[in-house]
């Protein structure tokens, strides 16, 4: 039982770490397109939404 709880805690910790990695490297991947102004704001949204959610609607 104790071992099962530890395995569940381990999987949860791994997924938590994955979540923090994804958030941490957003700048390293898309920061330059965001900062250089290549990505323009869509109506009703901001640059951040477009970086993450709208492939094919740039420039």
């Amino acid at each position: 039982m104790e071992n099962q709880i530890l395995v569940i805690a381990m999987v949860a910790s791994g997924l938590f770490f994955g979540w923090t990695i994804g958030s941490h490297y957003t700048g390293a991947t898309m920061g330059m397109a965001y900062g250089s102004g290549v990505i323009k704001s869509p109506p009703g949204g901001d640059d951040f939404d477009r970086v993450l959610l709208a492939p094919g609607s740039y420039l």
Partner: protein
Amino acid sequence: MIAFFLLLGATFESHNVVTTVGTGIIRGEDMTPLGAMVMMLTAALVTAANTWMKWPVSTSQLACFSVVGAALAMGAPVFWKTTIVFLCITWVGTPLMAAVLGYFFTHFTDWFRKGKSERGDKIMGYALLVACCYAAYTLGCNNTGNAVGVFFGLGMTTPMKAGFIGGIAMAIGALTWGRPILEKVGKGIVQLDLSMGVGAKAAQSITAHTAAALGFPTSMNQALIGGVGGAGGARGLKTVDMAAMKEIVISWFLTPVVAGIVSFILYSVLAYNLNIH
């Protein structure tokens, strides 16, 4: 876009790094659920703290030193001479290789743009987006192993399945809490034109992708800083905000040490309370 390309890289090309983190720092049979939990929880907390502080650091270094800290507390042998030494060489080599590539790529993009003012800008804009998508793919290849490598080390799943699961978690992270670092890197550290941006971005991605293909987790942030430095060198410019860089470099050295110490203490406390030896 980040989520899509990141998931592709995590699923199809992260297996080499997954294997390195899972079984390359300590023996797979020495890994216990408590040890694995402590390693990842420590790395996650330290990474979250850096994101909150807006310091772009290496999660690969955090993950590796979290493994080392917990392994020392467990009394498990660490492969110092092979893995850690080679990983350190990779971490030093990453910004250097990215700088050299950034220098040459920027010269190439300058040559390409010559005499094509408006059309050249448009092409460079698309090229920068392609390079950013490639960077997201490389992130999936390179960093997924840090989060889920120990799942493979414990024999819970295959490297590809581990990569897919880790990729989903990372994609959700980018979608929900990516803004602080995006603002810092995008507007607070570097000032580049399009040619230099494409050169630096291509240099970063190729360097990190090469390391991932060889199975060595490296830092996308350190590769980016190297690429930016090389791109600036091609123009004889200082492209990096030195005040911002100073705090980032300090955090590069500080955070792996903090991760190792926290991991060691956390494992010792939990093992004592749970009576695990």
